[in-house]
């Protein structure tokens, strides 16, 4: 009898141990499958979002060029189609994730501008009221409250420009890198906007070197090249330099600006007033410290073969200060290009700012959406696109908000 009981006890113990072991393994399998399914859903949502963003122009399809309200989200360029994004729609994204990142101008006026910034002096400042915010975009995508997303749009090529000293004239070094490797043999089309003071004139002048066609160079095996401007001395010149790079169908942009003004303060601030009409406010810094400056502005239209053609604009010159804090001008709303504004202080110091009209004209990177930090699984999708014929990569990150 005792033997049978022990036999039972041993059998039950072994059985329970086996059950626990198998249940644990099954449990892990189920947990993995559930996690996989959840993550797969997020990954599919990332595909949905990037397809909608890249392959749909939105509704209305030219919403980036109009003041009309947006009914459906999409960033495709309707005039090109395929994987081409609209340079105008991208300018209307509210990229600032919180109000502290907005630019208030004039100070304490309550008028805020979204800042898509390449770097100092190369900003796209758009009225916040005309920009599409993240929540509205999420609602249009039908994912508000269920999924979060973020769009990162960055140029494919990394083009760095730096000044090389010691030649007695201006020499600029251009370095081109692709995805982790230098790009040799790339063709460069470049322009130098030399800012100068013309004798007998109160306004600074903008001299373009060369005029047209643009200067041409090629990168060496290490992906860099020195470009010499023998007619510009390197004695603290003021200039802006823009270079368009292309090789085998991939294209990029680089730029560099040097001012003779030491101050960190940007004396002139171009603000977009109206997307539909291409109205731009050329404003003085208005900080109460910066002196009045004269300016000279020119709009250059960027053609498909990367040439810049100057276009006459209203109020192309003027004096801005406390008495006359801003002027209004107008660019061609439906043609991408660069608004180059040079300015001159009473002490004959010079500087320049550039407003890229169209994201691609200066290769401006931009990000739009929420912050994925802290979420356990974030799916990403990558696409190659073109904006104004400049190669970009679009990365979409998506995550589930339900945990």
């Amino acid at each position: 009898m005792a033997g049978a009981t022990i036999d039972h006890m041993v059998a039950v113990t072994i059985l329970i141990a086996a059950l626990l072991l198998t249940m644990g393994i099954y449990n892990q399998m189920f947990a993995s499958a559930v996690a996989y399914e959840g993550n797969r859903k997020v990954a599919m949502k990332a595909v949905d979002i990037i397809n909608t963003a890249c392959l749909s122009p939105g509704n209305p399809e030219d919403w980036g060029e109009k003041n009309a309200s947006l009914l459906g989200f999409g960033l495709q360029d309707p005039q090109v189609g395929g994987y081409a994004l609209s340079p105008y729609s991208l300018m209307r994204l509210r990229t600032s994730s919180n109000d502290s990142q907005l630019v208030e101008y004039p100070p304490d006026s309550g008028l805020f501008y979204n800042n898509i910034s390449a770097n100092y002096g190369h900003d796209i400042l758009s009225p916040v009221g005309d920009c599409l915010n993240y929540t509205a975009a999420a609602k249009m995508l039908g994912i508000n409250g269920t999924y979060g997303f973020r769009l990162d749009i960055v140029p494919t090529l990394d083009v760095n420009v730096s000044q090389v000293l010691g030649y007695g004239h201006l020499v600029l070094n251009v370095e081109v890198h692709g995805s982790g490797l230098p790009l040799s043999g790339a063709a460069l089309n470049y322009y130098l906007f030399h800012i100068n003071k013309t004798a007998g004139s109160d306004y600074p002048s903008i001299t373009r070197y060369p005029t047209n066609p643009p200067g041409v160079a090629h990168t060496n095996p290490s992906g860099s090249v020195d470009i010499h401007f023998s007619n510009v001395t390197d004695d603290d010149p003021s200039y802006s330099f823009t270079v368009y790079v292309s090789l085998g169908g991939v294209t990029g942009v680089g730029y560099y600006t040097h001012n003779t003004i030491d101050s960190e303060s940007q004396y002139i601030i171009p603000l977009i007033q109206d997307f539909d009409d291409g109205k731009i406010i050329i404003a003085h810094n208005w900080d109460g410290v910066t002196p009045a400056v004269t300016y000279n502005a020119t709009f250059f239209v960027l053609t498909s073969d990367f040439q810049l053609h100057p276009i006459q604009i209203d109020n192309s010159t003027g004096l801005l200060g406390a008495e006359n804090p801003y002027n209004t001008t107008q660019v061609r709303a439906y043609e991408v290009g660069l608004l180059v504004i040079s300015y001159l202080t009473p002490e004959d110091d010079m500087g320049s700012v550039i407003l890229p009209w169209g994201i691609g004209t200066l290769g401006v990177p931009t990000s739009f959406g929420g912050d994925p930090t802290g979420y356990s699984f974030v799916a990403t999708e990558l696409r190659q696109v073109s904006i104004d014929d400049i190669s970009y990569q679009v990365k979409v990150s998506a995550w589930s908000l339900s945990g």
């Binding site: 049978a4 036999d7 039972h8 041993v10 059998a11 039950v12 072994i14 059985l15 086996a18 059950l19 198998t22 393994i25 099954y26 399998m29 993995s32 499958a33 996989y36 993550n39 797969r40 990954a43 595909v47 990037i50 397809n51 890249c54 395929g82 994987y83 081409a84 494919t156 090529l157 890198h177 692709g178 995805s179 982790g180 490797l181 790009l183 040799s184 043999g185 090789l247 085998g248 169908g249 991939v250 498909s304 799916a379 990403t380 999708e381 990558l382 696409r383 190659q384 696109v385 073109s386 014929d389 190669s391 990569q393």
Partner: protein
């Protein structure tokens, strides 16, 4: 004994577990969490070909430096953990109609693991030219219609703002002469007089007065030869005294089975001859022409329909406004490769009542406007059942001659024979295969 039974149970449990593990295979990490390589491949190929550089490269010899540039561009575009293989296949068609793909060239940066995705692009050689061979108008019926384009050097145009009749004549010649056996420019009102009398102008092979198409490039004014036609075409009792000339034109159109084309505005609104009307102007300061008003088109329709001449200056046109090309006309735009703007403004549209009063059948190229303008025909070719036709483009100035060309092609419907798209060695298939490194 119980222990043995439990052991059996455990074996069953473990067996079930093993079977479950065997069948419940989770996907590989790349499949579960990797980026969609097929879409990435597609977007890469599309953007590289954005300016046609990829297409240009894949037709080059494999030793051409452009292949090296393409390889660098691919390496620069794709993330470092993505490997690629770009293969180009030549497409050819054998005599039996079988399509063959031969590998022409291939570039890659590493070997793939188990998983990879690919996208493809069909590239057409930039050196290929596609030819079209139009059928000649009247070729099927043996009529071999001749195209006459009025290019008179002694006449003035009206409502052809920005153009001269001579430049329009040249453009029309370029657009339409491939569709006609013979094209003749009528260079003076004297030559027009000869033509109206039934005389061949060139005497060359193929020119026939019967069944011809006569295009008036002078807009609302019509050249008039001095002499006989300024005499018989003159009605001393009428307000607009040269309306009767239009009646003669209608008669001749009917007699020779012509198609008379008015390219813009009111048809036959003025007569023009810079020598004969040297001191007369049209009321707007253009000398060399006299106004006929709407008596002109009424008289022409009377002549076209073999009715006797009765002076009638009653207006028969309306202003339906913006009108759209019909779906049939849009199809023909694609067929013939003629693309006028699909929306046009019509303010000289003829009233549809002329169809019944003059026994006409209209081939319309625009959809009619909405009520109350649905009875006006913006542009059409009106064929008289007894012979002859009038193509009247009742659009506003400035004339778009492509509308007239489309109206004529829609009326005559010549076939267009195009070269085959899949001709040998003109197409190549480009496939870009992508894989992720570090996977299984």
């Amino acid at each position: 004994m119980r222990t043995v039974e439990v052991l059996f149970v455990i074996i069953i449990l473990l067996g079930a577990l093993l079977m479950a593990i065997q069948f419940a295979v989770l996907p590989s990490p790349q499949q579960a969490f990797g980026t969609n390589l097929r879409e990435l491949s597609k977007s890469t190929v599309e953007t590289l070909d954005g300016k046609g550089i990829l297409t240009e490269t894949v037709f080059k010899n494999s030793s051409d430096p452009a292949w090296g540039d393409l390889q660098k561009a691919l390496s620069a575009s794709l993330p470092p953990n993505v490997v690629y293989n770009l293969s180009v296949y030549d497409i050819s068609t054998s005599s039996g109609g079988v399509i063959n793909y031969h590998l022409a060239n291939s570039i890659s940066d590493a070997s793939f693991g188990v998983d990879s995705e690919a996208a493809s692009l069909l590239a057409t050689s930039p050196n290929v030219t596609f030819t079209i061979t139009p059928e000649k108008v009247g070729e099927k019926t043996g009529e071999n219609n001749t195209l006459y384009i009025l290019n008179c050097n002694d006449a003035n145009g009206w409502w052809i703002v920005g153009y001269s009749a001579q430049t329009l004549a040249l453009d029309l010649h370029n657009l339409l002469s491939p569709y006609f056996q013979t094209t003749v420019l009528v260079n003076s009102t004297y030559e027009l007089g000869l033509l109206l009398d039934g005389t061949l102008l060139t005497g060359g092979d193929g020119e026939t007065v019967e069944n011809a198409v006569v295009i008036n490039t002078f807009g609302e004014s019509v050249p008039i030869p001095s002499g006989y036609y300024t005499t018989v075409g003159y009605d001393p009792d009428a307000t607009y005294k040269y309306a009767k000339y239009s009646w003669y034109l209608g008669q001749i159109t009917n007699q020779y089975n012509w198609t008379w084309v008015s390219i813009v505005g009111y048809p036959f609104y003025y007569v023009t001859n810079t020598a004969y009307f040297e001191n007369d102007h049209n009321g707007w300061g253009i000398y060399g022409m006299k106004q006929v008003n709407q008596a002109g088109v009424n008289a022409f329709l009377q002549g076209l329909s073999n009715q006797s001449y009765t002076y009638n200056a009653t207006g028969i046109t309306g202003r339906p406004g913006v009108v759209d090309l019909s779906s049939e006309a849009l199809d023909l735009c694609n067929y013939y490769g003629v693309y006028p703007a699909p929306y046009q403004t019509s303010d000289r549209a003829l009233h549809s009542s002329i169809l019944s009063t003059h026994n006409l059948v209209a081939t319309e190229i625009f959809d009619r406007a909405l009520p109350p303008n649905e009875d006006y025909i913006p542009a059409a070719t009106y064929k008289h059942t007894g012979g002859g036709a009038l193509t009247a483009i009742g659009l506003t100035r400035t004339p778009d001659i492509r509308v007239s060309v489309l109206a004529l092609l829609m009326y005559y419907r010549p076939a267009v024979y195009k070269s085959e798209f899949g001709a040998s060695c003109t197409s190549r298939l480009v496939t870009l295969q992508l894989g992720q490194q570090g996977g299984t």
